[in-house]
Amino acid sequence: MNGEIEILKPGLMTSIQDLGRNGLAYFAIPRSGVMDQNAAKIALLLLDMPVDCPVIECTTIAPTIRFHSSAIISITGVDLNWKLNDRNVSINQTIKIKDGDVLTGGYSKDKMRAYIAIKGKLQIEKIFGSYSTLTRALIGGKEGRLLKKGDLIQWEACEFSENNFKIYKGPEFHLLDKQSQDLLVNEPFTIASDTDRMGMRLKGPKLFSTSALSSSVPVLPGFIQLPQNGSPIIILQDGQTTGGYPRIAYIRNIDLPRLNQLTLNSKIKFTLAH
């Protein structure tokens, strides 16, 4: 569902953050991001969302937020004595919000950080690979600043579909013939019953690689191998470290927990990312 919130009172140092900017310290760009990654990740995981999504970070004093639409949210970190329309709400659970509801809270003396996650894709821009607000440089989040009274933040319904996985081209993607490249992303695959902790075997359209490998090559969990029989295998947690089949694609680590939860015979689909 699409939606919008309005900040009625900003609380203290309330800002939009995600896991931060990687690898840019070289250019004197700080990492930024949530101050308590564990609490922020829990908020997102409660909503079955990827842990690299943006959240609202609150510090010591809770903001007051009006919802202009229904929503599903979670709140984690220190308990700021949250109330939804004057009724107490607990942290660390999913909370159903109705259009017009107002979320308020108090303050905390013993711990500092609380996180609010909203199910959906927040309509803010990524800067240098992150949504995190860095107020000193005026980048990220909402106009590079802390949230203030009157701010509106929209989100878009986003099917974080449990069975859709982004894949990236593997070292031997080019060995797939053109038709197989299309089949890989256009057709669903079924998780075969002989899947185990080493590998997830997939049933579906047969894929063909134009040549075989002459030697064994390194593989990691998430790599999709293609044996000559045409049925891909995704290397999992107990997977081998080298293998002799083309590595046509890979799934990023961040998506593996979701993949590993799927039951046998589930259908999955791949989307090729660039």
Binding site: Y26, Y168, S216, P218, T241, T242
Partner: protein, 225 residues
């Protein structure tokens, strides 16, 4: 190694593959990268044509230069191990091996026994060994569908390699024989008695000898002494 021989391929911030056609130098470079224990390298896996480095984040240009500056050196020291193997001609994989090679099983084994074999690399699963030195006419392609179970101690051929499965696992290689020696020690790292670069000489044993050795569960060191 002249760094111009190396090809760096980044797969986003997820992993880096360094390719080279000088296997021995690549192998020693991989060892040096592994031992340097860089905070940005989560895993280092060395294979014949490439080293894969799992990255914890994007590398800076300085860090890439640091990796490029790591040289591989020639390996000189090696140890030669004698490994007893029982060749069971009744194993079902022999049909395929005979068909591909055009040799009958005893001829095939005679030729393997004469080879000077070298431990090429670790890989696959704990205790697995890739062994190089098979001439072209003894190379048998991997099975198109991997078997769900290959028993521990199996000596098998996968393409240009001989391999030893020291623990039972799924596998796609063609089994030629069985060693009765307890090669793996799962309480230490590395788990195998040999290291890449060491030599292996295979020694033919008959079925009664195999049984006797298997019962006594000797390590390679105990067998040699």
């Amino acid at each position: 190694m002249d760094s111009t021989d190396l090809h760096f391929k980044y797969y986003h911030d997820d992993f880096l593959i360094i390719e080279s056609n000088d296997f021995k130098k690549l192998r020693s470079m991989a060892r040096n990268i592994y031992e340097a224990n860089f905070e940005f390298c989560e895993e280092v896996i060395a294979a014949e044509t490439e080293v894969l480095i799992k990255l914890s984040r994007r590398l800076t240009t300085d860090e890439e230069a640091l990796i490029r500056s790591i040289k591989g050196k020639k390996e000189i020291d090696f140890t030669t191990f004698t490994l007893p193997v029982y060749f069971d001609y009744d194993h079902k994989d022999w049909n395929h091996i005979k068909k591909v090679s055009g040799l009958d099983s005893s001829e095939f084994v005679d030729q393997i026994l004469k080879l000077e074999l070298e431990v090429s690399m670790y890989g696959f699963l704990p205790g697995f060994t890739y062994i190089s030195g098979l001439p072209k006419h003894l190379q048998i392609p991997r099975k198109s569908i991997p078997e769900k179970y290959v028993s521990d101690g199996s000596l098998a051929i996968g393409g240009k390699y001989l391999g030893i499965y020291t623990i039972s696992s799924p596998g796609g290689w063609n089994v030629v024989g069985q060693t009765p020696i307890q090669l793996i020690d799962t309480q230490q790292i590395p788990m195998l008695p040999w290291k890449p670069g060491d030599h292996i000489q295979l020694k033919l044993i008959d079925r009664p000898t195999f049984r006797k050795l298997a019962e006594s569960q000797l390590s390679l060191k105990e067998y040699h002494s």
